[in-house]
Amino acid sequence: MAAANPTVFMVMVNGQVESGQFPEFNDLYCKYCFVYGQDWVPTAGLEEGISQITSKSQDIHRTLVWNFPIDITFKSTNPYGWPQIVISVYGPDVFGNDVVRGYGAVHVPFIPGRHKRTIPMFVPESTSKLQKLTSWFMGRRPEYTDPKLVAQGEGREVTRVRSQGFVTLLLNVVTKDMKKLGYDTSSLELHTSSVIDLSEGILK
């Protein structure tokens, strides 16, 4: 097969699942996991995690603060399949059953630096009113067979979802060797390079 140690670039992500806004619910916890392409390999850190249960704050924002740290390093040979972080939030319903309160996914930012991302969350809808009722009654809401599905496109057309709250992430991204391999993602460099291009054009 290919060379034992292909040239790779690295993407280090750390940060935290800061908080969530689910006005209707309380006492939620969240899970995160990463979805990435075939050319990606996590080299360090945790691929998935499950947070503590948090209650709403008493202030006016009524946010649910998790501050759940994320720290993972990937190496890859190909930007295709850039990692996505999938967040799923769970919490008890009226009867105390653990039900899903939202799924959401976002790509890890390409640009090195500090990024704040607010992900809209959604849950799959019941196929009918009756099912909705029974699922509520029985405490088994429809949920994805795998949270990772929300990071994929295939097959989503058969589902119906409803939006439900937001989750805010703070991600610090550090990349290594991206530029060396020809992937120029940093915004600063983009800027300067474009200036150079323009001035070149003028000189010509």
Partner: protein
Amino acid sequence: MKNRLKGREEENVKKTFGDDTVIARDPEMSHKEEKLKIISEEFVENEDGEAEKLKKKLKVQKQKRRKQIRKLMLREVKEGRDQIQVFLTSSLSTAPHRCLPKLQDTGLEEQLEGTANLGFQQEHQERSESNLLSMAIRKGPRNLPPIPSTSRTGFAEFSMRERMREKLKAARSKAESALLQEIPSPKPRHFVSLREEEMTGFEEEPGKNVLREPQDKDSQRSTRVRFQDSGRKLKFKPQVPPGFPSAEEAYNFFTFNFDPEPEKDETKDKKREESNQEVEEGEEEEEKPTYEEQAEKMDEEELINKKEANDFLLDLDQTIHDFLELRAAEYESIHVIKQKEKEILFRPSSLTGIGYYRNKNIFSLLISQERKWFGDDGRILALPNPIKQFSTRPPIFSPEEGIEAGLEILYKKAVNSVPNNQYIVGSGDSLGQFQLDIDISGLIFTHHPCFSREHVLASKLAQLYDQHLARRQRNQTKFLTDKLNALRNAVHTHPDFTKTHGPGHTAQESMKKYKFDIRQTRRLRDAEEEKDRILLKTIIKVWKEMKSLRDFQKFTNTPIKLFLRKEEVDWKIDEKVFETEIQAETDELLEEHMEEYEKIMEEYNTAYQKWKTWKKTQRNKKKKKKATEDQEEATEGSEYGEEPVKPTPPEPVDRSTIEQQVRERALHRRRKPGEPILIPELSLAGSVTPIELCPRAEILRREDVKKRSVFLKVLFNNKEVSRTVSRQIGMDFRVHFGQIFNLQIHNWPESLTLQVYETAGYGSNNLLAEVFLPIPETTVFTGRASIEEIEFSSNQHVTLDHEGVGSGEPFSFEADGSNKIILMTSGKVSHSVAWAVGENGIPLIPPASQQSTGIRRRIDAIASIGASGLADMKKLAKWAAESKLDPNDPNNASLMQLITVATSGDTYVPEFFRLEQLQQEFNFISDEELNRSKRFRLLHLRTLEVPEFRNFKQVPIYDREIMEKVFQDYEKRIRDRGIIETKDHLDTHRAIVAKYLQQVRESVINRFLIARHHFLLSDLVVEEDVPNISILGVSLFKLAEQKRPLKPRRKGRKKVPAQNLSDGDIKLLVNILRAYDIPVRKPISSKLQQPSRSSRPFSETLVTSPSMQSPAHILDNVLNQVLVRPFVEVSFQRTVCHTTTAEGPNPSWNEELELPFRAPNSDYSTTSMQSVKDDIFINIFDEVLYDILEDDRERGSGIHTRIERHWLGSVRIPFSTLYFQGRIDGTFKIDIPPVLLGYSKERNIINERGFDSVRSLSDGTYITFFMTIEPHLVSGESVREKFDSQEDEKLLQATEKFHVECALKFPKRQCLTTVTNLSGKTVFITRYLRPLNPPQELLDMYPNNPQATAELVARYVALIPFLPDSVSFNGICDLWSTSDQFLDLLAGDEEEHAVLLCNYFLALGKKAWLVMGSAIPEGPTAYVLTWEQSQYLIWNPCSGHFYGQFDTFCPLKSVGCLISPDNIWFNIQRYDSPMRINFDITKPKLWKSFFSRSLPYPGLSSVQPEELIYQSTDKVAAAELQDRIEKILKEKIMEWRPRHMTRWNRYCTSTLRHFLPLLEKNQGKDVEEDHRAELLRQLGDYRFSGFPIHMAFSEVKPLIETVYSTGVHNIDISNVEFALAVYVHAYPKNVLSVWIYVASLVRNK
């Protein structure tokens, strides 16, 4: 260009001198052309010389920057020269055309005003003109030619050449004051002023001079005069004074460089035409001075340029680089500008009297600066955006953390994106933008609703007058009259017309032609004259009407007045002309008539002759026939009937009558002699009645008109691109816009439309009409395009309540309302559309190739030569080159241009048709290059899910990191697709089969590719079903149930789709519960013999037998030490787990083992999981402890034992079974080798304790376990697709009905009526059953023993390797192959085995059915049921075992339906366990039959062949295979023992090898004791442990796996030896039975 000019000149000449003038200039021209080149070269040298001088002087001053300056100077000089050339050419070329006529009289400003009136189109003209003027003016006063000839004529003496020299000198003087002495006049300014005065005087003179002395052949005559003459009249033969260029040369020289500024010429030309009449007289006087000025202004320009350059240079303190950059920006310091200003503006103060110069000067200054400030379009030259490209300040990064880097707003200059002309097919390289200039100068309504009656008449009058003017301009009458006269003259003067007849044949011919021409011309002329007259009459009539209307309504609306100018004519001359004309005409007519008369006479004569002869014959006949009978008369009646009419002789022509006619006609058509010529003249001098004096209705009308305004929208390709300003409609219903729209376009326009909108008051815009403008030809450029008028009309009906006549409404001029007319709103838009010319003179026209992409437009250039439809430019160019088309012929100009454009390579005409024309856009790299990239190839193959690359991880980023061998496998596979590889398979036949399977598989996969990517909601979302009553009941019941029940049941688990899993997620859980009847160690001393059970016949086997062992014997065993210490080892994918060791032959472990599962390529998709071919081995070993303590004395202090494990048997379960079943739960028979040396199946009575009455029914060892995959994986669904079928539609409907009925009652029972065959078609299942002959060889074996034969046949079928469909066909569907296909493939799953076995049994004469049901471990499967001697037997087709109906260990657990060759019975009994059901199919209460009385069996033909043909197997090949397997296995065993030496005991091996055929012969029975004895005898001093393994042969890999799973190689005693023997027994049809005997030997000490 020159030629065009020439042509124009010729026209001009023609006009002035009439047709007769012969133009014979061309030879001269060519001559001139030759010379002019030489001259121009001279000039170049000359100037270079001057430049050199200049340079030297500069050197003195500025030595440091010498080089730069030199370069610059050179360039400057050259530029100056070029300018001069250009300028001269233009000015000179225009000179002969009498341009700039007004210049003198009116001054520049007037001129401008005048031109401005002409609308925009003249703006160009104006510009160019003013340019010219300004330059001229700038030069004019500046320098005087230093040649001191003071006489006026002498002034003309100096040639252009001298002038140039002077110019340079002057330049020098400016450049350096040190050179002043070279200039003859020390005070140039004075001189200049003098010169100007001179010039003013001169202006009137030279022209006269020229006219006065036209015959002067003196060489002293000025070249200019000559030049002018030659340019104009060509009357003079100029003689070239030696050393001077002739006038022609000069002319040529200056006209040579024509092309860069063609439009100037054009505009001049046009202007000339417009002002033609005025210019006619006295124009020559004006012409020369302007010309002279022009000539001078070049000197001026040169000078200024030089000066500028010098100043510029002096100011420079920069490096070359900077300098060059600045140069482009045309930098000029304020100082320089001021100085220049001073120079230029100074003089006028001294010439206060002549405002003309002042104006000129100011303007010239403006223009001179305009060169830098203004562009060609008269706008200020500026960068499109004054904002700098990037900020001069360094970017500030906000210190705040709040703004993310990615969201920071950066200023990015809006850059004009390069137009995407690539959307056009084959546009090739960038063509830039093209520009279409649309000039809308104005709009005239020929009718408008607000027209008063007077307006209607006025417009009518105006139209008529226009018509009249047009006619007069064409003056057809005059032309035709002249022509007629000429023709007449020709006829009269024709020599020998009447005299020579014979030789003058051609002359006669031409005479005839002449006459014919005369007639034609006369007729035409008459018609024209008549028309003229009628027109005149109508004009007068309309005018009269108008006058009467004005009188009637007592006010006037229009300023139109018609004057009729009478031109008195001399009555006598007129009369004479008239008379001669009449006479001539009469003569001609007479002649004509005479000719006609002659012709008719001739005809008459012949006819008369005919008639005469006829008469004669008639008379004769009559005479004859008088005697004949009457009845013949009737027949001859016809003859009489043909009697020709007697021709009447034509009347001779009378001259007087003809003359009379002619006169009448002439009077009618022509002006009577002496009648004054009436020339109508329309003027707008009349006064319009002021509004106060008008009646109310009229006031209303006028107010209405005032309210109305009009604007035009310009639509390009049906999109509005711009619109004019809204202009009020004037009282004269003319709207002047004078707007130019520059359309920057990319494509060839499809349509150009103007929409005329009218706004009344504050109302909405009302679309009056659409005007479609023609798209200009490629040769029409801005400045050259003439203003054209396009009429429009609207069909709107407008009725107004005032004087306005409305539109579309009838109105009348008469008081009584009769004579109604209806007029629609109409008008004319005057516009011009032309292609713009770029800065460098390149016309901004889209290439011709684009035209064809839009509306199919043919270029007229091609059409003009009659070859319409030519599209191939290259061919056209070639043809043009070959045919030596005259490029100078003005007719070919457009064609030539087209060709030059075409051949220059600018246009690229695609020779193909492309569907996805944008595809090219996205190809950033060529396909070949892309394919060459290994990385892209790898990525591509991975995306295609090519098996080799499906889960390729980490595709390297560099090509160099991708090994070439990555592709080797794939390429090899692709290459070998057709080639059959025998190496892997050891057997050709199987290789073929494997290939075939592979192909079938591929095709099936392709067929179901879409279905695989089709998701259901359940695949993605887990949702509880809506509970029905039963579920609710169950759940209610659940509430009541115990939390910890005594007998817990396994709960169902959630199913997980396999696609989102990764390595390590899936585990295999195996719960080993217990085992029964494990063989026990046999003490070597034991001599107990026991007849083997299996040798008993059916009856005996199946009859419950009591224990046959004597109690004494049992006791003996019991007293022995531990019988066996078994443990279970589960191995899967080379991972091994084992339980703890239990004791005794019926151990109970109750242990859970966990094994990780790894999918191939880490691909956990359903398809990949389904194709996992790995087996799960559950092996039972006996742990044997050997005391190897050598010294008994140490026994007290230590234990030294060696553990050996002896393989006892195994259960093998394919992973696919587990995957599809989800779980496997039950008691399974352990596959124990027929010979297990050192062990025996002893009955352990103690353990059984009498419970064995049931269990002992079947012999063998059993193990109970539970096995599942964690998490529960969703297995691939069957295809949601209906297959087409060749079955009868009724039958299919019946099957569906049957299915529905069955499913209603017993939804879980398997009911099968139709299956899919290998070609994907639905087939009724009974067609698969048909008696088929088993191999004769098998029948011959036990001819007298049907039971043995049956067993043998079952064994034969079982020997065909088992290959589940899910593996071969990715589990998508269950394909049934026929028995011959099955035998050919030598692989199949339960159905195929069962069908074949059933067919064999049927052939053997048994009653046999196919049983569809579920079994363990297979799940839904097919078994065979036979009726044998009052009992039913259930056969497992895959193992060859048979079970009685009441056998507890029968793996078949439920029965769904029975299938016979002619019917299907569905089990409708309460139970489905074979033990509890009745197999009597005749009872309809128990079995629901498919075919019944209502639907009788239609006699379906079988899909099976009539009989199977068996080839006897090649024994040699089998032997060969045997050797190869043995070799491979030996190698493998050595490989598995990397740390130890593997010794092979050959003696033992050969012994085993002899033994194996015996085993095959006895099917593994009855040989144990003999064998043991034999071995003991031969290997007495060895401790021997080994066993034969029997397998069906499909591939080598399973054999290896099996051997590995036994763990024989695990013995690591130092002195161990191995023995391995392989025997392959070949059955017909290449069915191979493989025996492998593996043994380990340890020498006893």
